[in-house]
Amino acid sequence: MTAGATARWHEVPAPAFAAPLAAVDRWRAEEDGPRTRVDARLLVRGDDPNLAGHFPGFPILPGVFLLESLDQTVRAVFRVMFGAGVGLREVTRMRFVAPVLPGGELRWDIRLEPEGDEGVTASAKAYRGGGDAVAATFLAVFGRDSDA
């Protein structure tokens, strides 16, 4: 099942903070009790200037840009759904399963769950190439900006 299949898509504006790329194009979400399930998409652009250096003649999306994409997505979701600023505090684990090449669309399945008073745990899978091939998995903790 796709998260929020009936929910409306939100386009994400350019980041208002230092970032190597705009790492999410759009997202939709649905609440399920205390949890929130998010579907987000990013077209991996072949003309992204980062890919000129990663690597010359052999462009692959850096694995850490999946972390950037997860971070930007969770920040965007919280800003819109809860009017709150959050930031990444901890990556409990991340695993890069398969490289992401330019041209395809990255799809996220993210499950957000409250953690303590102000935190949120994000359990996430990134799928590459518009299909069901897993590119990476993450378990990460976000905190409200006032915790920083």
Partner: protein
């Protein structure tokens, strides 16, 4: 044996290039044990290009993804010492994951990151290392475990040229 590398030396070892070559210099390398590296953060880096003039002060924090990449490249310099190229004819060294990354502070333009990585374990073709990133006396990032592995190149799809520099993954 202790070794230092200037930026030319770093470019000779790592396949990444501008804007994603994120280690400026190796301050100390003990092969098979540990490495200390530096990366200076500048407001001229591409990640600051589109920042609006009215952005909040904390918006100038160096992106966490680039911080982790810079630490990971430092680990790669340690792993690669005495282990050949990042990419050879049949395999490539890939960053396959991490555990226990803690974001403890922020770094800003003008700061110099100093990364320390210690080799923990090598099991078959997989290497584990732990790392810490500091700005002066402040710790900004710690990593319990950075994980890399040699993987067959056939798993990565074909390159888009036949004649390019293929040292790297």
């Amino acid at each position: 044996m202790r070794e230092r590398l200037d930026h030319r030396g770093v470019r000779g070892k790592l396949p990444q290039r501008h804007p994603l070559l994120l280690v400026d210099q190796v301050v100390e390398l003990r092969a098979g044990e540990s490495i200390r590296t530096r990366k200076a953060i500048s407001g001229t880096e591409p990640c600051y290009r589109a920042l609006p003039d009215d952005a909040a002060p904390e918006s100038y924090a160096y992106p966490l993804s680039l911080l982790v990449e810079s630490l990971g490249q430092s680990a790669a310099l340690l792993w690669l010492e005495g282990q050949g190229e990042a990419v050879d004819e049949s395999s490539a060294l890939l960053f396959t994951g991490a555990r226990g990354l803690r974001m403890l502070g922020a770094a800003y333009p003008g700061d110099v990151l100093e990364h320390t990585v210690e080799l923990e374990n090598v099991i078959a073709e997989t290497v584990f290392a732990r790392g810490v990133s500091r700005v002066g006396d402040r710790t900004v990032l710690t990593a319990e475990s950075l994980i890399a592995a040699r993987r067959p190149r056939t798993a990565m799809g074909p390159p888009d040229h036949q004649d390019h520099d293929q040292r790297g993954i």
